[in-house]
């Protein structure tokens, strides 16, 4: 369970998060939506302790995160852009993260699932964008943690890998995991998300199920519902 209370974050003069309060229950897929620059990534990075908020509190499984680091053992994170040290190979990267976390990992299974066997000894700098994203996914899914935070997991994936990712997410959800996802692919949200958190100008505009959002905006599908919200608030 993740609990966020009155979170404020400013970068220079730009107020990115303006008093966000949010509770994310255990188990389920939660989609964090919002236009570009609405604070999705900042919110996620605050939970991870990568961005340090000016005000507000965050609790992960009841523990405050400020100044802490052990709690990250319970979180698997997939960053928005798959950027890795270019000098090392895929195997070395996986070994390194496993070594740093010293937790059991099921990377072999994931490597097979995403067909990465042929790339294991290539340098990360030589991989294509999509392949890097697959490595990114393997890194994010190989540990058995209760919380998953995925920042645009679908970027650059081919249709087959996208299906595999969806299966993977369903499996983790069945296993009782809490999964936070940001994405701009509405189709992905419609098929996967249990609940939607809609951020607008640093605040939570809406939190609830897909049907509630459609009802609220009087629209048949999610894409139009969101377009509607944005048009109303622009």
């Amino acid at each position: 369970m993740i609990e966020i209370k009155d979170l404020h974050k400013k970068f220079g003069r730009l107020q990115v998060l303006d008093g966000v309060s949010l509770q994310i229950a255990d188990q389920g897929i939660f989609a964090i939506l919002g236009p570009n620059g609405s604070g999705k990534t900042t919110l996620i990075k605050s939970i991870l302790g990568m961005v340090i908020p000016q005000k507000g509190e965050i609790y992960v499984n009841g523990q405050p995160v400020k100044g802490q680091w052990e709690y990250r053992r319970q979180i698997n994170y997939l960053p928005q852009i798959a950027r890795f040290p270019e000098n090392i190979s895929v195997t070395e990267l996986l070994q390194m993260i496993k070594n740093l976390r010293s937790q059991p990992a099921n990377d072999a299974e994931l490597i097979e699932l995403f067909g990465l066997q042929g790339h294991l000894h290539k340098k990360l700098g030589n991989l294509s964008g999509g392949t890097k994203q697959k490595v990114n996914i393997v890194l994010a899914f190989m540990f058995d943690s209760p919380i998953f935070i995925l920042d645009e997991p679908t970027t650059g994936l081919d249709p087959v890998s996208l299906l595999r990712l969806k299966d993977l997410l369903r499996k983790e959800k069945e296993a009782g995991k809490t999964i936070l996802i940001t994405t701009h692919i509405m189709d992905f949200v419609e098929t996967m998300a249990d609940e939607i958190v809609f951020l607008l100008e640093g605040n939570i505009y809406f939190k609830g199920t897909l049907d509630e959002l459609k009802k609220k905006s009087n629209q048949q599908d999610l894409e139009h519902a969101i377009a509607n919200i944005l048009a109303e608030n622009s």
Binding site: F11, K45, L48, G49, M50, V51, I52, W69, E70, Y71, R72, R73, I75, Y77, P79, R83, F84, P85, N87, I88, M96, I97, N99, L100, R101, L139
Partner: protein, 260 residues
């Protein structure tokens, strides 16, 4: 921290630049020995090179590594690791690999030349030690610049500026002020001004150890007069340690508050 250090270290050791740096010192060492045909002369020439070059390589390498490892850093930040662990690990990785290039690059030619039997062993070791100090200090300064500037162009400019300032401009201003105020007692001023520049400090440290009064210059002479050779050595070493620890403290402090 050891694990982060290890990865940064291996990452660097395998990069082409470490070899270039190592080979440069190797060639320099051999060239100096054959040109001077004497270890003690080579040590003096080497001092002038080391005192200017290690700070430059330290700053440039430090800032380059800081920026090019941003991805690695972001990856580590999401792992259950302390920020201090991440940044100190990386810092030590860079500083150590550069120091090793220096020690082996220069050590090998001198060892071949029969350094072991010569009386210059202590001087040579001190030369490498001050080179190591300068590397650690300037890599730390580069990390501070990196932590404070997300803009790489700005970061690089500041890094080059700080090297230029401490290696060249500082001495210029120092010298001019000595000439302008020559009517006043300048001992204390000289002493303090030297302490504030690690490059000057290491130069004096080596000169004191080499005990070549002809080369000591004004600042060196003052140092010797004020502290005597032995105390002078220890004082300058002590100040160099402070010069290393203070920037490292700032790395930890800046890293704690930074957004990624």
């Amino acid at each position: 921290m050891i694990k982060v250090l290890q990865y940064s270290f291996y990452d660097l050791i395998r990069s082409r630049w470490s070899y270039v740096y190592f080979l440069f010192y190797l060639v320099l060492g051999f060239a100096l020995l054959f040109l001077n045909n004497s270890i003690s002369k080579a040590v003096i020439t080497l001092m002038n090179v080391i005192v200017v070059l290690t700070p430059m390589i330290g700053t440039i390498f430090g800032i380059m590594y800081y920026y090019s490892s941003r991805e690695f850093t972001e990856l580590l930040l999401a792992q259950p690791l302390r920020r201090r662990t991440i940044f100190l690990g990386q810092y030590l990785g860079v500083a150590l690999s550069l120091t090793l290039s220096l020690v082996f690059g220069l050590g090998l030619p001198f060892a071949f030349y029969g350094l072991g039997q010569s009386a210059e062993m202590g001087n040579f070791a001190l030369l490498l030690l001050s080179g190591a100090f300068l590397t650690f200090i300037f890599v730390a300064l580069a990390f501070i610049i990196g932590l404070r500037n997300d803009n790489r162009i700005k970061g690089f400019s500041y890094a080059i500026l700080i090297w230029l300032l401490l290696a060249v401009i500082y001495d210029g201003i120092f010298l001019i002020s000595l000439i302008i105020f020559e009517d006043y007692p300048l001992d204390k001023f000289t002493l303090i001004a030297t302490m504030f520049n690690p490059i000057d400090l290491s130069r004096i440290l080596i000169l004191l150890k080499l005990d070549i009064s002809a080369l000591l210059g004004y600042t060196g002479a003052i140092f010797q007069k004020f502290f005597g050779t032995q105390t002078g050595l220890f004082t300058s070493l002590g100040v160099l340690i402070v010069w290393t620890l203070v920037p490292v403290y700032f790395i930890v402090r800046l890293a704690r508050k930074k957004d990624f």
